[in-house]
């Protein structure tokens, strides 16, 4: 067994990269991951990535915000400490709406973004797990686990045929630790 860990196909064009993914899949070669400098539509279906459920989560965060705002206002200015403002009723629902709305948005945004960061392991100072430094610039990278797929020259050939500009054999998984 060689000590090559990952085979990277580096493409200059997203269409060619999508073609490369098809080629590999036709040959039953499992793709580890794909790194691109921009979102590529249609790629998640090819790689069998499920639809994100962040939208459902966002909805519940929003409802929590609405409820929290209502609870805060109701419990303070209707239950706990009624203020007599020109003899008007303490339970003035229309006046509560602006803050209920704002907190709905606030909770949705923070709940959504923080869950997104957590679920994709993004946080300040995290060591970037990068396989090819040009994946954030102008290259579209297909990574194949070399330990799981033995036919290295066949993978090289498939990637080259699909239009890969270069094919790299990396002995380390991530290159950005040094």
């Amino acid at each position: 067994m060689s000590n090559i860990k990952y085979i990277l196909g580096s493409f200059g064009d997203p269409e060619e990269m999508l073609h490369g993914i098809e080629k590999l899949q036709e040959n039953n070669i499992k793709i580890h991951d794909v790194y691109t400098p921009m979102p590529i539509h249609g790629i998640e279906a090819k790689l069998g990535i499920k639809r994100s459920r962040l939208d459902v989560l966002a909805f519940f965060c929003g409802i929590t915000g609405t409820m929290s705002a209502f609870a805060l206002i109701y419990l303070t200015s209707v239950v706990d400490w009624k203020n007599n403002i020109g003899g008007k009723p303490a339970f003035a629902l229309p006046d509560f709406i602006p803050i209920m709305f704002e907190l709905t948005i606030l909770f949705t945004a923070f709940g959504l973004v923080l869950s997104y960061y957590a679920s994709t392991h993004l946080f300040p100072g995290r060591a970037p797990r990068v396989m090819d430094l040009r994946a954030t610039d102008d290259r579209f990278i297909i990574a194949v686990d070399a330990q799981l797929n033995a036919e290295h020259s066949k993978i090289d050939g498939l990637l080259k045929d699909a239009g890969a500009i270069e094919v790299k054999h990396n002995e380390r998984k991530y290159i950005s630790y040094e």
Binding site: P37, M38, T76
Partner: protein, 490 residues
């Protein structure tokens, strides 16, 4: 990516011949990866002087109290709230561009959203400093938060629009910041992967470990879309609530149901004007003509005509209703506004906001960079006067003629305002140096569908309708970044 080409009738969003993904990165990161040029230093030093002035004036205010300002018993709000509303208004274009235009699938937003959002954040910071400094005892600023009674103050009054405003502005600021920063992550990672040494370490911390794999991008798009969906009503609600600070009172001239839509239109109007003021200069100095094209400038000018006209209709409606309501106090407030001692401010507002933007109906003016830039400054001035007129002229002659007064700003008033512009520009210029001023990943997304070179390729392939091609080539005449002679033979 779908294999279908965009209609040839649409103007290109990226011009130039040999644009590649790599070139987009290098072009946009040019100011970030190199030493600043002379123009930047001149601008930065000037802005820093302004920021220092602001620091002096605000410190003076904190030390002496707001008696340092020209306020009096009758005119209790003047330059402070004018400045606050002006800055909040300017802060509306960023989220409008990034959220509303995303929902409407306006791809031209992709190259202006980043700097517009940065502008939003800095403008809201400037607005917030006014709120704090006009409080009198700014060290007790946290009393605007709902704190338990044992804390010293009573629970805040949730029926008060000022409390709503606190919630609205702070939500707006933090949500805009999240939206902006999440969008920045892939671009910070781009800088990180091209940098070395300490720079790489610093950008690495701020990139949150972004590596651009499939799942991260897929969820990134979901998050962007949901954030756009919630930011759209948010941006409309913020200025609505700012307008309620006035509209829920009983002061003639303020107590108006038209205020929320009128303020929102005015905010978008002034926000786009400020975006143009900044981007027309940045485009030239940073050499971004291929990404911020004449089409972008024309589109923004069209939004300025639309919102400027809405504002004009609102002014006239307000005037009509003041008479039609039959309320003599209301009618007096408006007659006094236009013919009283502050007539010059009123007519300044009318000229700058209603009359001069109508010049943009002329294609020549709309496509002239100097004219557009001057008009954008005129709109900014007009919108400042709008807030001044609404606030000061409604207050200075109240119900009791014996207490009628005029407002005269002191040097502190003027310095806080001029200084806040300095703070804004200091922050904006620093932003241009350390972060990409255009969303790199988003521009790369439209390279294959909406760039000039791609459309030229389609024309050369020759399967397109001749009349459409002719129309497209004619539409290119307005672009200053397109080489016209290439199209002469087609």
């Amino acid at each position: 990516m779908s294999g279908h080409n965009e209609s040839i009738l649409r103007e290109p969003l990226i011009t130039g011949r040999d644009i590649t993904y790599g070139k987009i990165t290098s072009d946009i990161l040019e100011p970030v990866e190199n030493k600043p040029n002379k123009a930047w230093w001149i601008g930065f030093i000037a802005a820093l002087c302004g920021a220092t002035l602001w620091l002096v004036a605000v410190s003076y205010t904190f030390w002496n109290g707001i008696g340092a300002w020209g306020l009096n018993k009758t005119v209790g709000w003047a330059w402070d709230i004018t400045g606050f509303v002006w800055w909040v208004g300017i802060g509306h274009a960023g989220t409008l561009i990034s959220a509303v235009l995303l929902l409407f699938r306006q791809n031209w937003r992709n190259s202006i959203n980043r700097s517009a959002e940065a502008m939003t954040i800095f403008a809201v910071i400037c607005a917030a400093t006014y709120v704090v400094s006009h409080m009198g005892r700014p060290w007790l600023a946290y009393w605007v938060l709902p704190l338990p009674n044992q804390f010293g103050s009573l629970w805040v009054n949730f029926n008060s629009p000022l409390v709503w405003d606190m919630f609205a502005i702070s939500t707006y600021f933090s949500v805009s910041l999240l939206f902006w920063y999440t969008g920045l992550l892939p671009d910070i990672a781009t800088i990180r992967d091209r940098a070395t040494g300490l720079r790489r370490r610093i950008y690495s911390i701020f990139s949150f470990g972004w590596n651009g794999n499939v799942k991260t991008w897929q969820r990134f798009e979901t998050v962007s879309l949901i954030l756009a969906g919630i930011s759209t009503p948010l941006v409309l609600s913020v200025h609505t609530i700012v307008s309620m600070d006035f509209a829920t009172s009983v002061i003639p001239g303020w107590h108006t149901t038209i205020f929320p839509p009128y303020f929102v239109a005015g905010a978008i109007f002034s926000g786009f004007a400020m975006v143009l003021t900044l981007l027309l200069v940045a485009r030239k100095v940073l050499g971004l003509e291929n990404y911020i094209t004449m089409f972008h400038i024309e589109s923004m000018n069209k939004i300025i005509i639309l919102t400027g006209s809405i504002v004009g209709v609102a002014y006239i409606t307000e005037f009509f209703i003041a008479w039609y309501s039959g309320s003599e106090y209301e009618a007096y407030a408006f007659v006094n506004r236009s013919t009283g001692p502050y007539w010059w401010a009123y007519w300044m507002m009318m000229t700058c906001n209603v009359i001069s933007p109508q010049l943009l109906w002329f294609k020549k003016i709309r496509l002239s960079i100097p004219a557009t830039w001057i008009l954008s400054l005129v709109v900014n001035i007009g919108m400042w006067f709008e807030r001044f007129v609404i606030i000061v002229t409604s207050l200075h002659r109240d119900y009791l003629p014996s207490s009628w007064a005029m407002f005269y700003p002191t040097w502190v008033d003027v310095s806080v305002f001029v200084g806040s512009i300095g703070v804004f520009f200091t922050l904006f210029l620093l932003f241009l140096r350390v972060l990409p001023s255009i969303a790199i990943a988003e521009v790369k997304m439209i390279l294959k569908s909406s760039s000039e070179q791609e459309k030229l390729k389609q024309i050369k392939e020759g399967h397109l309708d001749k009349t459409y091609v002719k129309e497209y080539v004619e539409s290119l005449e307005k672009f200053d970044s397109v080489k016209q002679e290439d199209y002469a033979k087609i």
